[in-house]
Subunit: 226 residues, 2 copies
DNA sequence: TTCATAGTTCGATGTTAATCGAAGCATTAA
DNA sequence: TTAATGCTTCGATTAACATCGAACTATGAA
């Protein structure tokens, strides 16, 4: 046995698909509950609990108890750094886990990331809302501004209803295709729902692609630019 | 299955002790043969071959055939970066794999890191050379200054000979025990060789410890401080 | 109290993969 | 050619671990 830091032990902790999904979900800096992380990883709560125990023992994440929830955060910025470097390597060597057409242009343009909009249009939405000062970002995460609150109500989104859920209103989500942030959280999901309701877009079941109608895309652009 | 770069696949490749030993051995920038890597990892040639095939398939290392040897190198600087970040995390959270005297003072003071000096004296050498402006560090890495070139020649190091190798002259190497940089690269190796030749120090075979004689240590201190 | 939710522990199952002995190629030297 | 070296492939064994159903604990709500 050699001396030195045990790289393998840390890397092995990041080397399981379920755990790496959890950790990338935590990259936004927001604390997430065990159940949320289980859903992100696509495993049952029991399995997630086992993984989280390992990550906790390895000091990759730190838990914080609050009521009957356990919120997890990454144990430090070095973890984010590691994940980012590994992402870079993975995309350099072409290790993507996309099955259905990795270079599918429609997928890159607009797709569903669980329940919110991702892809180029997702990134455009995020930066558009930020430029219009409807959302603000700082080290705590993303938040809806006062102007953003007014906008949401005018756009037909019932914020009070969203606030009843434990889920955060706004969350940043790193976009793998554009390498920038797009908007997640219940507000992000509500926006996409509203796009559907207004007839701006509809989902292509069979895939994650979101298809915008011509006038829908015009309206969307106006929303981002104005 | 989620979209995005497959972190887990890359991390899993780094997450095996045998493989991580091989990869850290390659961090020096030197190409090593399969047999050498097997010895570094402490496994049989068959096992090493299996690991190297995996690393090659994952594009973590690239092989180069030469005669009846196969030389391996890391596939890019991003791999080194990843290993260094993981090293930092591992030592932060106290994951060390030291069995034989983790706090062996001699080992912490001065030891061989492949072919150059590491430990407290290695770090002192690095910061001493930097303070004397014999080496300079910036975001591109470490480089020998003009004054450093003069110093090297005066110290009895043939730089022209070193430059013929593909190996970088100066490289930073993160020291796990001191958590600071020490000097690697062919110049770092040449310096240690020169310490041996001058009788300042000798290696304790059996271990990685480097033992300085009293006057050798005095001279070394003068070299770092003046 | 009773009920529901969040999370964990236990136990069983199935899969993956690390390991090495033995044999097989490939290259070099005599 | 024969012999030796470097490395790989094959096959079998073993150990680790990810997964989930079922049961259990803890907190909060009615």
């Amino acid at each position: 046995m050699k001396e030195g830091p045990d790289i393998a032990r840390v890397a092995a902790l990041l080397g399981d698909p379920a755990r790496s999904n959890m950790l990338t979900a935590l990259m936004s800096g927001r604390a997430l509950t065990a159940a949320e992380l289980a859903q992100e990883a696509g495993v049952t709560p029991q399995t997630a609990s086992s993984h989280l125990a390992k990550l906790e023992a390895g000091q990759i994440v730190i838990p914080r108890k609050q009521g009957r929830h356990r919120y997890f955060t990454l144990s430090g910025p070095d973890i984010v750094e590691a994940l980012e470097v590994l992402m870079g390597i993975a995309s350099r060597v072409g290790h993507n886990r996309v099955r259905t057409g990795p270079r599918d242009p429609a997928l890159r343009k607009a797709r569903v990331c669980y329940d919110h909009l991702a892809g180029e249009m997702g990134v455009a939405l995020f930066s558009g809302l930020e430029a219009r000062k409807l959302i603000s970002t700082d080290h705590n995460g993303v938040a809806l501004t006062d102007a953003g609150t007014d906008f949401a109500e005018a756009f037909g989104i019932n914020l009070n209803e969203l606030r009843t859920s434990r889920r955060p209103l706004c969350r940043e989500c790193l976009d793998w295709s554009a390498r920038q942030s797009h908007l997640a959280g219940s507000f992000g999901a509500a926006l996409l729902d509203r796009f559907y309701d207004l007839g701006w877009a509809h989902r292509n079941m069979e895939s994650r692609v979101v298809i915008f109608s011509p006038e829908g895309e015009r309206n969307f652009k106006a929303l981002c630019d104005s």
